[in-house]
Symmetry: C3
Subunit: 315 residues, 3 copies
């Protein structure tokens, strides 16, 4: 789709015929992608963007680098939401190749496998599983019953996905209009799941808005865990039951999140951090190998001490 | 079913042949419905009921208005539970019309659509979805894989229901017997979902015990959210992942509930209220447009101040 | 499998040809089972084990009773994990008898029922349900759509299992290697669900690592509840929505757990205890019939008093 066509779609005048292949963040965009700036906090990213064009307010448009085209509008984030629909793939592909199923793989009855999907050897795909279009699954992976894998996601070798888990559902993203409507930001990314990963029952891992939600090798995820869009769960991390990660949370390697703990979004947790059960993390944790607890969060020893002080209030 | 038949079923003497069409609350009952009073707190409602008959203790029976018949019993709530089974529809309808499917609607394999159900045009019903009997779905709605919609529920136009979500499961209701058994209160209501609503993956919305659990236009619900029976989520409200709403919670328009927050039941939250992540609401919030946090709940600024005071205990 | 074959598998020298039928804990093992000791806390259990053999470090091997054989190794728990795979049943049985379905039982389309499974009379098994191999279901039980029951589990009479619930998924268990890999402990036990039990939508009940996760008669479980492996939920207990029980939690009869409350693992809660919504239980509760609240947990009245004291900090 050309930049001109996109601009026309949102009622902006732009004569550029440059072909745009997708949407992305300021820093991750390549020279064929469109990006946006809504929040001034990211002005420094704007200066470094390689994007073909930027949705931007007039006020901020002076900072658009000369290599990019400024698409000036009042509500860049809302315009991005509207444009995201143009790049959304079909919910179901009607055309495409039949799925390829590797040797030794068992596919039970009542399984749907989409167009252009490739499943490796020695897998087990159990009854009621849904494998969307353009999904790849490695070797020796077990997909338990009634699992849903949305289109374009990938799962590696030696994984176990327990029943009812959903991989690749849309991230929770929308822009507000001034009259109180929510315009969906189509989640055109995917989920990539590495090797040797076990995910419990009825967990949900949302697909990325751009690029990928990433689960690295060796991760262990329990039941009823929620992982928001664009999270990165690095290798060896452990998420106990009912954990909730907001969007764009990065867990560095070997982070342990206790049961029912959670994170606010857009933060990082240092390697080998342990978050106690039922804790809430609202800021990036920089120092590795520490234990934390509570909400608000304290170092675990401090939290225990604090609970002692609090209970003294009863005396 | 006549009042006499109902009375016979629970061993009460009543000769009235009046036809009873269902059960309802004191205030919502019409003149063909049966209601009950267990808790004296609702005596003023009793005086205003239009119900055909009321299950009531002898003590409270004097307050039954002359337009209603008093069915006197020791345990009205338990009797209601027993009677609720008489009005429960079939789990599966064997008779009835084949479903009607509108033009342009795609129904994938392994989908079940029940008797008398009507699906509009340009919908997508994905593999493994279950659409029960007597369900209506509007136009241009997407039902993702392995979604379950129980019988009698309705979903409007332009909705997106993500994989694994359950709409219309029974509310959590039962009466105790003196010897420690739980008698199910059949949940004979339904769920009504308006237009332009997106619901995430593996969420659950229980059907009403009487009448409807209501999700109004424009609502956004994230993953793994629980909505109890008889809740009303008014237009434009947003429920982030892992929120839990107890039964009969009313969210007025444009309420935002942060991740893992929750409400006790039978309360209301004023319009444009924001509840921070992980907060617990136990009382009605009357004043609109305020921010709240914590458990117990405080105004957000007060909660932040309080956390400062608490952390001072460590000094 | 002989003890010699097992020892060979993990590179230990042992010439014993004794047939080993499975793995179990120190105290629950019979004379044909293999057990392990990793944590010195359980040395007294070691002295009382009836197991055929014990995986044990050299240091602790002197305490192995003369009736048992010591399999000396550096990392007994890790060795147990490796051996657990040898005893894991097939994910899907290819051989075995067709399921037996009792009179009056309705099985909807798109249902899978495994080998050697037995379903009683007057049940309803709804579309998209998965009933694994060797499952038994009693009479008059309803399995709603898209429920998954893993192999070897049992469900009694007069139960209702709501849509999307998963029964018998693997417990969250693995041993660490020194180089940061997680070795799965195969969960070779099952889940047994008694009579007159209702379980809400999208809940998850994990199978036991050894023996059974047990749900006793009359229990009521709401939506999105997580029950870890080897829990025992005694008769009449009530678990409200989004409760999370860590592994090996025992609820004695008639315990009530409020919404979003949780337990750490390996603890017991006395009969007729009430745990308020959003509380966290980290220690065994010995005294019956008390109310508790908060995290850390206090008696409910004390917790209310404490919240008053805390809010006074704002003055």
């Amino acid at each position: 789709m050309t930049l001109q066509e996109i601009a026309d779609f949102i009622g902006i005048d732009c004569q550029e015929k440059k072909e745009i292949t997708g949407l992305n963040t300021l820093l991750d965009s390549n020279e064929n992608q469109l990006t946006f700036l809504e929040n001034k906090k990211y002005l420094s990213d704007l200066k470094n963007t390689k994007a073909a064009a930027v949705l931007v307010t007039e006020e901020n448009s002076k900072e658009v680098p000369s290599s990019s085209i400024a698409l000036i509008c009042d509500e860049p984030y809302l315009m991005l939401a509207k444009i995201s629909k143009l790049f959304a793939p079909n919910v179901i592909e009607m055309d495409g190749e039949k799925p390829l199923i590797g040797g030794g793989t068992k596919v039970m009855p009542n399984v749907y496998i989409g167009k252009n999907s490739v499943i490796g050897s020695d897998c087990t795909i159990m009854a009621g599983a849904f494998i969307g279009d353009n999904v790849t699954i490695g070797n020796n992976t077990i997909i338990y019953p009634n699992v849903t894998v949305y289109r374009d996601c990938s799962i590696g070798n030696d994984c176990i996905i327990h029943a009812g888990t959903v991989i690749g559902s849309d991230g929770f993203g929308f822009a507000n209009t001034k009259d109180g409507k929510y315009i969906k930001i189509y989640q055109n990314g995917n989920v990539t799941i590495g090797n040797d990963i076990e995910i419990g029952a009825n967990s949900t891992i949302d697909r990325a808005v751009f690029n990928s939600t990433i689960i690295e090798d060796g991760v262990r995820i329990d039941n009823l865990v929620h992982i928001g869009h664009n999270c990165k769960i690095s290798r060896g991390s452990i998420l106990v039951a009912q954990v909730g990660l907001s969007g764009s949370t990065t867990l560095h390697p070997y982070v342990v999140m206790g049961g029912q703990s959670a994170t606010a979004g857009h933060l990082e947790i240092a390697p080998f951090t342990t978050i106690a059960a039922r804790s809430g993390v609202t800021k990036t944790i920089h120092e590795p190998k520490k234990q934390w607890a509570g909400f608000p969060l304290f170092e675990h020893k401090q939290w225990l001490k604090l609970q002692g002080k609090i209970s003294n209030l009863l005396k």
